[in-house]
């Protein structure tokens, strides 16, 4: 098994892991029965892990969300889809590998799957541009969504990006326009749309495939208006204040649930999705199936009206005529 990549706050677990490994080795070389000891240590390790992960700060959650071994879009597709066929190209000169899409089946139901794709290592990350899509990526996504609309395939989006790519070519090709058009057109689609923040949701680059009927989020995923690093350097004039910014920006699933932005937070296995990817995949699959069924039962006009209403309600302001603050439910 590949070495686990450990985060700073996971270090207390290392000692326990080492002990467990040592005892295992011992058992392999001798006839001594250590199962009792092993069980004890493993339970202890699990409990410590549980404690650590239940108390994660927003800044620590970002580290979990960006964990290189956290299951990605293509991992999830592989875990619970059949007949996956990836589709390529925006039909105007590019195919962005930072944003992938294609058709497949989940439990016999044909769907369109779209998501940002990060790499596991440096080489792969360079090829995937660290999951930062260019205008062509967003236009490919829209092309696939329109295709899904014509053939009545529900759309399932996986959000996992530090943000839309910021570069000379991206500006030249209209990064703003590409995202903007997606925001508008996703309101027009007649098929159900479910988006899940599986890792990090970075600002407009995430929203560009995120106008959905249901927005789900994993327990340790984050969704931000601006990266805490950028926010800290602008508002605090000090990038080192990123952890403070991460707390102030309210970026966790629980925060966004209470702001009325997220519909459900999916619980992660103890230690995060990278500790038990299959378990995470099963949880996501079940959530998707539940919402697919719920949304597919709605008449098209109701579906679109509800989508509009969902976003229409978001905001917090004071309307003096009523003297009541309207905070979304």
């Amino acid at each position: 098994m590949a070495r686990r990549y450990l985060l700073e706050f996971e270090k207390p677990l290392v000692e326990l892991e080492k002990q467990i490994e040592q005892i295992r080795e011992l058992a392999r070389d001798s006839e001594v029965d250590v199962s009792q000891q092993l069980l004890q240590l493993e339970t202890l390790a699990a409990r410590r892990r549980d404690e650590i992960f239940r108390a994660l700060t927003p800044a620590e959650k970002i580290q979990v969300a960006r964990h290189p071994q956290r299951p990605s879009t293509l991992d999830f597709i592989q875990m619970f889809c059949e007949d996956w066929i990836e589709l390529h190209g925006d039909r105007s000169c590019s195919d962005d590998s930072a944003l992938v899409g294609g058709i497949a089946r989940i439990d016999d139901k044909a769907v369109m799957l779209i998501g940002q794709q990060k790499g596991r290592d440096t080489k792969e990350n360079v090829a995937r541009n660290f999951g930062m899509a260019k205008p062509g990526g967003y236009r490919k996504a829209l092309r696939l969504m329109n295709h899904a609309d014509r053939f009545n395939l529900p759309i399932i989006c996986f959000i996992d990006t530090p943000g839309a790519y910021a570069g000379l070519l991206a500006e030249e090709q209209g990064q703003g326009e590409a995202i903007a058009v997606n925001l508008r057109e996703m309101f027009r689609l007649k098929v159900p749309i479910i988006a899940t923040v599986i890792g990090e949701g970075g600002s407009g680059g995430a929203l560009g495939i995120g106008v959905a009927d249901k927005l789900l989020m994993f327990e340790h995923s984050v969704y931000t208006v601006a990266s805490p690093e950028a926010c800290a350097s602008i508002l605090w004039r000090d990038a080192g204040k990123a952890p403070e910014a991460a707390s102030a920006l309210k970026i966790t699933g629980t925060d966004l649930l209470s702001l009325g932005i997220v519909d459900e937070v999916i619980k992660e296995p103890s230690g995060g999705n990278n500790w038990a990817p299959l378990q995470a995949g099963e949880a996501l699959k079940q959530a998707l199936l539940k919402y697919l069924m719920e949304l597919s039962a709605l008449p098209v006009q109701t579906l679109r009206d509800k989508r509009y209403e969902k976003f229409r309600r978001i905001g917090s302001f004071l309307e003096p005529s009523t003297q009541e603050g309207q905070l979304i439910s």
């Binding site: 910021a166 991206a170 990064q175 703003g176 208006v225 910014a245 920006l249 932005i261």
Partner: protein
Amino acid sequence: MSLFDWFAARRKDQFVGKVIQETDESDGLWGKCPECGQVVYRKDLLTNANVCNNCGHHNRINCEERIKLLVDEGSFKPLNKNLSPLDPLGFKDRRAYADRLRESQASTGMKDGVMTGLCQVEDISLALAVMDFRFMGGSMGSVVGEKITRLVEKATSEKLPLLIICASGGARMQEGMLSLMQMAKISGALERHREANHLYMPLLTHPTTGGVTASFAMLGDLILAEPKALIGFAGRRVIEQTLREKLPENFQTAEYLLEHGFVDKIIPRTQLRKTLGTLLTLHGYQKGK
């Protein structure tokens, strides 16, 4: 007086002092164009829509001045004037969001960064939103999002063409994800306006960036811009950092966007009213209606 009040009062005093100083400066008869350095007679500048007579530099103007320049006299009827911002996250960086809001409100006399309403331009009815960069960099939070959305909905139900004059640094970070979601909210309302076949034109002024560029600024049936306005998605410095190379001189200007196909027409401020009138009549919107 509590200690907090005392600090607040003290801050207010300092603030007023600063404003007076500023008015003193602008009360002078002569000013200097920041672009060409030409010394200009202030009254000339004002009669020329704050555009330098020598080099054509468009000085920044606030939203009241803009409305006055653009609409038929006395025709502007503001909507949702009293919608005011809250501090939903209890946000505090080096300073509290609530303080920043109070300060912007005091200096601009506005509740938040946008004015919306119905008006006539060249005798043609129009729904108009004007963002004001003075109010926290024209940033878009819940109030800006809600006021623009209500205006778009009004334009749709009253079958009116729509003009949004953009000037914004993007989504307002102090309201977190609520700000980001305003991009989607407005885009959704624009989708309905478009579906009903009404004309929407954004006018991009200096600067239009970030979340505003990635939503309603780029969703016009026709996209208009002021000369030399900075328009872009990502900040120039961010891009320079990623690329480590020099960017073209006119990068992210209105002219650059025109060249790359993202702007229909660059319109000098002095010709805006007339051009707008022509565009509206060409799309079948009639005078006196």
